[in-house]
């Protein structure tokens, strides 16, 4: 572990209030994630792993406590600041991949670079290069609906890493994939972690996927148990 952790979570709680009774999704959770780590959050449904992932990913703000990402305390950031932080420091791989359906595979990969203001030529070059690494360079002009689940997943991973983020977050990455495709995805991610030092944090309750992590954070009822 390096001297300064990439992610620091200090005594955070998250309570969801709606029309029904308040739900305490996280209760006084504290943890740290080092740069270059490969971490799995595991636990049963409702244990709070997705909520914790969302807070680390600056997609949500805690009800109390502090979240530091790369030294920045984000609990009081507004949406604009959070979105800038996500754009430059975080990559996301969603459960259903959530590619933008109207854009081609290449444009989906280019999207984040476009948001960062990278020139059209440069972002095309970088997107093609990343797609090539995942063996999807011949599929770049296809729309997501014209790709298999496995191909979509590769596009989603390419989109998550193309802008060289500090950390990549994934929620139930392999939930919708067959075992073989899921395993291939994990191989990809491990390789990226090992070769490029990208920090990966993912939530899963698949024991096979959890086994591949360097570090496992077990959660139950909104708290870290080990």
């Amino acid at each position: 572990m390096s001297a300064k952790p990439l992610v620091q979570v200090r005594n955070i709680s998250k309570t969801f209030t709606g029309n029904s009774l308040p739900v305490h999704a996280l209760k006084d959770v504290s943890t740290e994630i080092a740069a270059g780590d490969f971490v799995a959050f595991c636990g049963p449904s409702g244990s709070g792993k997705t909520t914790l992932l969302n807070l680390i990913g600056c997609l949500d703000r805690p009800s109390s406590g502090e979240v530091f990402l790369d030294g920045e305390e984000i609990a009081h950031y507004d949406q604009g600041k959070l979105s800038k932080l996500r754009l430059h420091k975080i990559g996301f791989i969603f459960q259903d991949f959530n590619l933008i359906p109207t854009l081609s595979a290449l444009e989906n990969v280019e999207y984040v670079l476009w948001l960062q203001g990278v020139s059209a030529e440069e972002r095309r070059r970088r997107a093609i290069e990343v797609c090539g690494r995942f063996g999807i360079e011949k599929l770049v002009d296809r729309r997501p609906s014209q790709l298999s689940r496995g191909q979509q997943q590769r596009v989603a991973v390419a989109r998550a890493i193309v802008h060289k983020p500090k950390i990549v977050l994934g929620d139930e990455l392999t939930a919708n994939l067959d075992h073989k495709t899921g395993a291939t995805l994990m191989d990809f991610l491990k390789e990226l972690n090992a070769n490029e030092g990208i920090t990966f944090v993912y939530a899963s309750h698949d024991p096979v996927m959890i086994e591949r992590a360097n570090r496992v954070i077990r959660m139950q009822d909104g708290a870290i148990v080990s």
Binding site: G57, G80, S83, K84, F94, E110, V112, Q116, R159
Partner: protein
């Protein structure tokens, strides 16, 4: 460019809804252009009808004549005025008239009329009076004992072409003057005012009747266009002192035409607002539906780092692209309809009685003023963009987590 491309792709996602929205904007705008075309066409015809019927573009009288109609209020220094007027840009021609109130009588009936002495040949260069002669003939240049009267007047006095009428009026010297005339022709202008109270004799005959010598009461100028009236007045004014003359434009002589035009425009403006609201609601519905259907996708876009402002921009861009297509369609359809009815005309023969009170023609030829189209397009664009700000703002304010897990 990428944002614009994304906007186009999103519009193409639900072609039926996009087409309906474009049609709503297009048909709404086309209807507005047609309404403006109808209103502008009607107003334009009314203005030209008045000008070509008797006012000309500009008239000069001795000061106070328009109200008093006193025979002694003759125009001083006519020759100088005419010479100076002919030098002003926009001047085309002129005619002179003698004018007075008179009593027209037969052995059984009498009516008060506005008697006008006209130069038959010169009058034709300024007004279209001759074209309105429905029975009989127009005045001959040297026929001092013929008279033209309106169709309504003829009906009320129960006279026809060839009948004899006695005209009595006060001469310049205050004495009672009277001559008898034969009806040369009966006019039917469609204007209640002219058909019921106007009677025309030759200028020479009127000068003789009123004892005017060679003097006249009215000079009527015809210019090359209504647009040049203001410039003509400005250039001519130094020669026409307010103390001695009154210089009147056609709409000062018959103000009700412009009042009517303003009223008609106010009605169209009201309809414009109603149409805009309908189009606006249609646009808002489309955008709201589109945002709702893409909640998850917008959530992902926000999660990836798209700023709320950029999401708002994207939604607005989609709306504006749809609006612009609708506007193009509306302009094409609107101008096509206005062009067609501008040539074919829209006839209302059964409304002649009503139209005759306001110088309207029974056939309206549509024509639209560019300013009204520009005004409609700008209002449409601004209003619908403003209305779509709400769904766009809603999209930009989405919380990524809630949006992504939205089912």
């Amino acid at each position: 460019m990428f944002l614009l491309k994304l906007a186009f792709l999103n519009i193409g996602r639900n072609p039926r809804r996009s087409v309906i929205t474009v049609l709503a904007v297009g048909v709404g705008l086309a209807a507005l252009i047609f309404l403006w075309g109808f209103s502008d066409g009607t107003n334009e015809q009314m203005r030209e009808n008045v000008i070509r019927l008797y006012t000309g573009h500009v008239q000069v009288h001795a000061a106070g004549f328009e109200k008093a109609l006193s025979p002694e209020l003759i125009i001083p220094n006519r020759e100088t005025l005419l010479k100076e007027a002919s030098k002003v840009p926009g001047f085309v021609t002129y005619t002179e008239r003698a004018k007075c109130e008179a009593l027209l009588g037969t052995s059984e009936r009498s009516r008060g009329v506005l008697l006008m002495g006209i130069d038959p040949a010169q009058e034709k260069t300024v007004t279209q009076l001759e074209q309105y002669v429905r029975e009989g003939a127009y005045l001959a240049q040297d026929d001092k004992r013929s008279i033209l009267i309106g169709s309504r007047l003829a009906k009320r006095m129960e006279v026809a072409v060839g009948d004899k009428l006695v005209v009595m009026t006060q001469a310049l010297d205050g004495t009672l003057a009277g001559y008898s005339y034969h009806i040369a022709g009966i006019l039917h202008t469609g204007s209640q005012q002219v058909d019921e109270i106007a009677a025309y004799i030759t200028l020479e005959s009127a000068q003789e009747l009123l004892g005017l010598g060679t003097d006249t009461h009215e000079i009527v100028f015809r210019l090359d266009s209504r647009k040049h009236i203001e410039a003509f007045i400005k250039a001519f004014r130094p020669f026409v002192s307010e103390k001695d003359y009154e210089l009147l434009t056609w709409d000062q002589i018959v103000p009700e035409v412009e009042q009517w035009a303003q009223w008609a425009e106010a009605i169209i403006q009201t309809i414009l607002i109603a149409v805009m609201v309908v189009i606006g609601v249609s646009i808002m519905n489309t955008v709201l539906m589109s945002v709702f259907e893409r909640t998850r996708e917008i959530g992902v876009m926000l999660a990836l780092g798209t700023s709320p402002g950029r999401v708002i921009k994207l939604i607005l861009l989609e709306t504006i692209v749809l609006e612009l297509w609708g506007i193009l369609l509306g302009l094409a359809a609107g101008y096509a309809v206005v062009g067609y009815f501008g040539t074919a005309g829209i006839a209302f023969p059964e409304l002649e009685a009503a139209f005759s009170r306001s110088y309207m023609s029974t056939v309206t030829y549509t024509r639209v003023e560019t300013i009204h189209v520009v005004q409609s397009v700008i209002t449409l664009l601004l209003l619908t963009t403003l209305i779509s700000l709400y769904p766009a703002w809603k999209a930009g304010r989405m919380e990524p987590v809630k949006a992504i897990y939205h089912s």
